[in-house]
Structure formats: structure tokens, C-alpha cells
């Protein structure tokens, strides 16, 4: 069988995926203190509706969406609000966070929850439930899902593409999710089908997850869902939205446009599962699958973790460090963020916590650009990263934009390949923000 893929660029980093997990012991320990940031999504931060001293129940609302592009935030544990403080998020921003100390009864976790029928619920009501449950895109971008699912009036959706590519090395959260919850994912897809009424449903994944793909295909058949699993080449960044769509339906999203412009909506498979829980279990988004990995972690694996659990306790649960980590990363090694201490909590968008050793990081001194062209080879967007780097260096950001700066998806393929170890992606981010600021000034 010929595997699909995006045509240009891409790299082949080592997979280093460790999808080990124990089905009976998938849940990480509950945090005794949960730190829940009020901005875990793209868009306006949520409005805090609790104050210090308040008692909250499990899954209670603590932050209210403060606009259309915003999201509700719920507490992952019952207890007492002991502090509301400013917190550094992994992406470097500061936002208020609610600190809750566990107290009282867990009414939901560990109990078998009632499964509610959803067949009779109207489309609009389903989107409402998704909105109220605080569901955001769990692939990493954390864009509020209800916004994505609200189609323009009269729009007929051609393709719904489910992103299960999980092309980042180390990460196997989605893989484990699909192996364990194929039936729930199928139900989630049915809900999405009702909301969006797409002509086709595709689930795209790299071929290294073929076992999960076979399982899903079988489940779709048993559940009478007309959706097909598309196996893709193992190549990074197969899961980048634009590349995934190109690989599966062969269409290129025009520069600066959304997937809708080629008749596609793209949803991460973890998000599909969260939609299932929200609709069928009436459960807001308070936990997610997290890969704990990297050479410095003693027992790497995949766990279901409550939002607000600190990295420190999660890593302790995985046996602690075997050696001093060089970096601790939120997300994957290609696009993830480093944190400077271990007190940062897991949020809705945290797909992995990686503690990489010095050897894995492979950093070296930056030298002049060698013009070797490996960045051009790696770039899935057809850019010439070395040239953009130089233009931004010379403060010619407008010219960089003419050369496609804003098409950069920051996948990191160029910098991964660069023998001069130039900070290409960092430079492009800086360039983009300079352009944005100068536009704002005009």
C-alpha cells in the first residue's frame, strides 16, 4: 500500500516513542494541590469566578469564558481555593492561576459514570455543551473548539479530518488513547458528524500507529460509521494542519487562509474524545493524556493526568530523574516549550512532559550559516529559511514577509537540520512579532 504524505520538505527525527502504559493503571495520582491557570487556550483569558476561601466541588466551573473566542475552565479536584496567584506559563506568558487544595469527597472519579443518550440533542445544543465544557483543541494550539465547529451560515462541509498523526517524537498520548478508547472516539466522531454534516470523514495517522488504525477501522465498521483511516508516512511534520490536509485530500490551503477555505475542518483525536466525555458523560475538560518521556525520566509512559498537576509530582510518580535533565519540555521536542522550574502545572494543551538529557538535546555552538541548504530541504512550506534569517538579521522584515515569513508554521524542521545550530525558529518568531508591531503602529 502506498502511504500518503505531504510532498515537500520534512525531516525524519528518531521516533523514541514509548507507548508503554498499563490499562488498569492509566490514571496518574490526583494532585494534593492543583494550580489551574485561567488561560489555557488561545483567546481571551477566562474570568475568575472564585475567591480565596471558597469551597469547590469536583468539575465545578472556576473560570468563565470572557468572550466568544475564550473558554470555560473547571477545577479538576474538589477542595478549597487557597490562593490566586500569577503564574509563568510554559509559553512565557504570565496569567493568574487558581490554587486549590484537595478537600472533601471525589464524587465522580473512580465511579462508573452514567452514559447519557445524545441522539435527540440538537446541533446547536451540542455546540453549547462543548462550549460549556471548556473544550479546546488538544493538539497543542488550544483553539476553543466551539468556535471551530460553528460553521458560517449555509456552508456545506466537504471533509472532516481527524488529526491523529502525532508526528512529534517521544509523544504517544494519542496512540494510547486510540488503543484504549476506540469506541468512545467513534461515538465522538458521530457527534461531530451530526454537528458538521461532512461528506467525508478521514482519520489521518502516521503508519507507526497502524495497530490503532486497524482497531479504529474495525470499530467504525462495527458502529456503522462511514469514516476512513488514512495511514501516512512517518515524517515530521505530518501532523501540521496544512501538511495533513495536503497529504490526505491533496489540496493546499492558500497562504493566510483557514482550512475552511478548502472545505476542511481539522480536529485532533484527543479533542474528539473530550467531546465524547462532554456530551455523553457530562464531564468538562479537566484531564488529558500526557506522555511522560525523555532519557532523564526513570519510567517513561503515558498517563491520564488532571489539569493542575505539577510537573514535579508527575515526574516523581514516574520514578524521578535518572540523571540531571538538560531541559524539561511541555509538548514535543520539535514545537514544545521549555520551563525553568518543575512547579508548572499540566494544562489542557499539554500533550507531553519530556525531560531530555544533554545527549538527547545535542546542542552545539552557533556558527555562521554554511549555506548547506539543509533548512530548505527540511521546510515543508517551501521557504528558504537561511535567507529569511539573514533578512531579519538585517532588519528587513518586510522583505522577509515578501519571501514568505508569515507562511512559516514554526515546525522547527530547519533548525533541527541546521549544522550551524542557528536559532532559526526563534528568529522567525521575532521577525513576525516585529512585523505585527510595526503594523499596529501604522
Amino acid at each position: 500500500m502506498k502511504l500518503k504524505s505531504f510532498p515537500k520538505g520534512g525531516i525524519h527525527p528518531p521516533h523514541r516513542k514509548n507507548s508503554s502504559y498499563s490499562p488498569d493503571d492509566l490514571n496518574a495520582s490526583l494532585p494534593s494541590i492543583a494550580t489551574i491557570p485561567l488561560s489555557q487556550h488561545i483567546g481571551a483569558p477566562s474570568k475568575c469566578i472564585v475567591k480565596v476561601g471558597d469551597t469547590v466541588n469536583e468539575e465545578d466551573l472556576i473560570g468563565e469564558a470572557s468572550g466568544f473566542v475564550s473558554s470555560n475552565i473547571h477545577t479538576s479536584i474538589p477542595g478549597e481555593v487557597i490562593e490566586i496567584k500569577d503564574l509563568f506559563l510554559p509559553n512565557g506568558r504570565v496569567c493568574p492561576a487558581v490554587v486549590i487544595e484537595t478537600k472533601g469527597e471525589f464524587s465522580r472519579i473512580g465511579k462508573s459514570l452514567e452514559i447519557y443518550p445524545w441522539d435527540d440533542i440538537e446541533k446547536e445544543k451540542l455546540i453549547e455543551i462543548i462550549k460549556d465544557s471548556g473544550i479546546v483543541g488538544l493538539g497543542g494550539a488550544t483553539f476553543p473548539t466551539h468556535v471551530k465547529l460553528t460553521l458560517p451560515e449555509g456552508f456545506e462541509l466537504e471533509n472532516l479530518i481527524i488529526n491523529a498523526a502525532e508526528c512529534e517524537p517521544y509523544l504517544s498520548s494519542d496512540h494510547v488513547l486510540m488503543l484504549e478508547f476506540s469506541r468512545e472516539i467513534t461515538t465522538g466522531l458521530k457527534i461531530l458528524k451530526k454537528i458538521l454534516e461532512p461528506k467525508n470523514i478521514y482519520v489521518g495517522m502516521e503508519v507507526n500507529k497502524k495497530d490503532a488504525g486497524d482497531l479504529l477501522t474495525k470499530t467504525f465498521k462495527e458502529e456503522n460509521l462511514d469514516a476512513s483511516v488514512v495511514l501516512l508516512k512517518n515524517k515530521y511534520p505530518q501532523g501540521a494542519e496544512k501538511n495533513l490536509i495536503k497529504a490526505i485530500i491533496g489540496k493546499e490551503i492558500p497562504s493566510g487562509k483557514l482550512p475552511l477555505s478548502v472545505g476542511v475542518i481539522n480536529v485532533n483525536v484527543s479533542t474528539v474524545y473530550a467531546i465524547y466525555e462532554a456530551v455523553c458523560l457530562k464531564r468538562p475538560l479537566v484531564e488529558r493524556f500526557v506522555t511522560v518521556g525523555g532519557g532523564a525520566v526513570k519510567n517513561p509512559g503515558v498517563y491520564r493526568v488532571r489539569v493542575g498537576t505539577s510537573v514535579r509530582s508527575l515526574i516523581e510518580e514516574c520514578g524521578g530523574f535518572t540523571e540531571e535533565p538538560e531541559k524539561v519540555i511541555f509538548g514535543g521536542p520539535m514545537m514544545g516549550f521549555t520551563v525553568f522550574d518543575l512547579d508548572v502545572p499540566v494544562t489542557k494543551g499539554t500533550s507531553g512532559i519530556l525531560a531530555l538529557t544533554k545527549k538527547e538535546v545535542n546542542s552545539a555552538r552557533t556558527t555562521n550559516c554554511l549555506k548547506c541548504g539543509r533548512c530548505v530541504d527540511g521546510c515543508p512550506m517551501g521557504l528558504v529559511p537561511s535567507k529569511l534569517f539573514k533578512l531579519i538579521d538585517h532588519n528587513l522584515c518586510d522583505e522577509a514577509v515578501e519571501n514568505g515569513l508569515n507562511d512559516c508554521v514554526e515546525c522547527g524542521s530547519c533548525a533541527y537540520n541546521c549544522p550551524a545550530h542557528l536559532f532559526l525558529v526563534q528568529q522567525f518568531r521575532a521577525g513576525k512579532s516585529i512585523v505585527r508591531r510595526s503594523k499596529g503602529a501604522k
Partner: protein, 343 residues
């Protein structure tokens, strides 16, 4: 546990290659050829290479002092010095063995590389620049070729012998090797050419050992097939088609093996033309560049005044690399339709 962890912008890891590993790998790949040169030509060859390497490092050190950088051991200056050494004739009279390689290395590092901003900014292969500079400065020293394994006896390189031999030739030889053996009273075989028991620059003579080094670089993914394959293919095709004319045997009778194993072609194809800095950055550009190198090498070698042509061909192609880069930009993702709509 440290108080604070390292913070960096993504990506957080790397494939492990660095400027250092690239440069030193090329030097390592050249090692067999270096050793062969010393075996064939004796210690004089070793001293010439030592001078060229040390003077290249000295020049880099001076630049470092002036610009307050520390690039002495990034491998680039060492490699340039080594390549210059390998491109030198094995024996030079008087003090020429000091000032010729020194002149070449200083020109390469200070003028070709340093004056344009150091590593990565030179628009011509520094080693070739240095070689051509001393070639035109001390042509008499640069065209005396000691015979291998015998001290003090000089002779022609295979290509030089053929070129001069063809002038007013009236013998019966109908291919370059026979002609060479005829005019130089020697008894060379293709195997001698391949192994490197011939006259020439210190490092260019053994095609076998250079190919071994090249295989190492191919495995390490340092040199690109997009350059050396079109170079070889175009060169071989042109030689096969047209070189027979010089020997009166007509089209499609050119002696491919003879041309492959002589005149530093293998050294040029795998170690000079593939230099990252002075070759194009896109795969398409590399194909054009490689093919151009092959065409020019053929042109200069067969129809030019000098017998070899590899250095000049690569230098000329180096110079038009920015032009090639300009016209081989990759198609931006998501722009094809926009551009079509604007037209």
C-alpha cells in the same frame, strides 16, 4: 537538581550535526589520500601539507585576533589548508615549498574567506581560490610534477602528457592511455591510474582512496548526490561523445576511465564542488550547478589551454551560484493559486 533549567525556543533537540562535525569529517575523509601522497612522493609532500595547514591556521588566528572571534578550531581553516596542500605539486625547488603553499593559504583565508565575512560568506571555494592564485603567481613551480616513488625525477601528469603529446603527434595511438605511454615511454595501465601510481598533485592521484573517503561522506550525509551525480554524468557523457575526436576515432568513443581517474576529477567532484558554502542551497539548484561543473570541466580540459580544468570549472560555477539560487527558489506552499490568480 539545578535551581533553574535551560530555556530555549523550539525546536528543543537537534540531529546532532554541527559545523564542527561537518568540517572535521571532510578532513578525516581526506586522510587516506594524504597518506597515499606521502607514500608516493615522500616527505617533501608531507612538509608542503604541513606548511599549508599551519599557515591556514595562522591566517585564521590573525583574523580571529582582528575580529575578536574564536573560529580557529571549527575545522574550516584546517580543511582549507589541507585541501590546498593536496592541490600542491609534490616537490618544489628552493624555498618554494614554504612560500607557495603559504601564499595560497593566506590568500584563501584572508582574501577569499576573511574579507567577505568569514566562514559561510565566501563566494568561491577558498582552497581553489588559493590554488589558482599561486598557479598564476608561480606558474613555473606549480607545473613541475615529480614522478611517484622516485625522488627528483619529474615528468608530466597523465592529462598534461596527453595534451602536449597530441601536438604534432604522428603515432598510431588512438586513445589517451596508449598515446600517453607512447609519448612518455611508460607502461601505465588503467589500474595504475585508479590506484594512483601516477604523477600529479599530492592528493589528486589516487581515485580509489578518494572514492573511499567520498563513500564515508555519503554515509555521513555530508555531500549531496544532487551535485556529484550530475557532475559525473554530464562529464562522462560529454567525454564519451566528443573526446574521441581528438584521437581521430569519431563520436561516442571517448575514453571515460582515463578521464575519470586523472586530473583531480574525483577530488574536485566529491570534495571541492560539494563544498556547502559555495554550492546552491536548493536541490534543483544543485543539479544545475553539478551539471554546469561537468560541462565546464569537459570544456576546459579538452578544448582549453590547460590540461585539467576541474579547479577553474568549479570556480566559475561558484561565482554564478547566487544567480542559480535566485532562479531556483522553491515554490511557496499555498501560493501557487494566489500567483496564478494575480497573473
Amino acid at each position: 537538581m539545578k535551581d533553574k533549567l535551560v530555556i530555549t525556543s523550539s525546536p528543543q533537540f537537534h540531529n546532532g550535526d554541527s559545523t564542527l562535525t561537518v568540517m572535521w569529517s571532510v578532513s578525516i575523509a581526506l586522510l587516506p589520500a594524504v597518506i597515499w601522497g606521502v607514500i608516493m612522493f615522500g616527505l617533501s609532500a608531507l612538509w608542503i601539507m604541513v606548511v599549508s595547514v599551519l599557515s591556514a591556521l595562522l591566517a585564521e588566528y590573525l583574523l580571529n585576533r582582528v575580529y575578536n572571534k574564536s573560529t580557529l578550531w571549527d575545522g574550516s581553516a584546517f580543511l582549507t589548508g589541507l585541501l590546498i596542500g593536496l592541490n600542491m605539486p609534490p616537490d618544489m625547488p628552493g624555498l618554494a615549498w614554504i612560500y607557495v603553499p603559504l601564499g595560497a593559504s593566506f590568500f584563501a583565508i584572508l582574501i577569499v574567506k576573511g574579507a567577505f565575512g568569514g566562514l559561510g560568506n565566501n563566494w568561491m571555494n577558498p582552497a581553489l581560490g588559493g590554488r589558482v592564485f599561486v598557479f598564476f603567481s608561480w606558474t613555473n613551480h606549480m607545473t613541475v610534477w615529480e614522478k611517484p616513488l622516485v625522488d627528483g625525477v619529474t615528468g608530466a601528469t597523465p592529462l598534461g602528457g596527453v595534451k602536449s603529446g597530441l601536438l604534432g603527434y604522428s603515432g598510431s595511438a588512438s586513445n589517451p592511455l596508449d598515446l600517453l605511454n607512447d609519448v612518455t615511454n611508460s607502461n601505465l595501465t588503467y589500474l595504475d591510474l585508479f590506484i594512483g601510481k601516477i604523477g600529479g598533485s599530492i592528493g589528486e592521484i589516487s581515485a580509489l582512496l578518494l572514492i573511499l573517503g567520498a563513500i564515508f561522506l555519503i554515509i555521513k550525509k555530508i555531500i549531496r548526490w544532487e551535485i556529484y551525480v550530475p557532475y559525473l554524468v554530464v562529464f562522462i557523457l560529454l567525454v564519451w561523445c566528443f573526446d574521441g575526436n581528438r584521437f581521430g576515432t569519431g563520436l561516442f568513443t571517448g575514453d571515460i576511465l582515463f578521464h575519470l581517474f586523472t586530473g583531480g576529477l574525483i577530488l574536485g567532484v566529491f570534495f571541492m564542488a560539494t563544498d556547502m558554502v559555495t554550492s546552491p542551497i536548493t536541490a534543483k539548484g544543485m543539479l544545475i550547478y553539478g551539471a554546469g561543473c561537468g560541462f565546464l570541466t569537459f570544456l576546459f580540459r579538452v578544448y582549453g589551454a590547460n590540461p585539467e580544468g576541474v579547479s577553474l570549472a568549479i570556480i566559475v560555477m561558484n561565482i554564478i551560484v547566487p544567480l542559480i539560487n535566485r532562479y531556483t527558489k522553491p515554490q511557496l506552499f499555498g501560493h501557487a493559486k494566489l500567483e496564478a490568480a494575480n497573473e
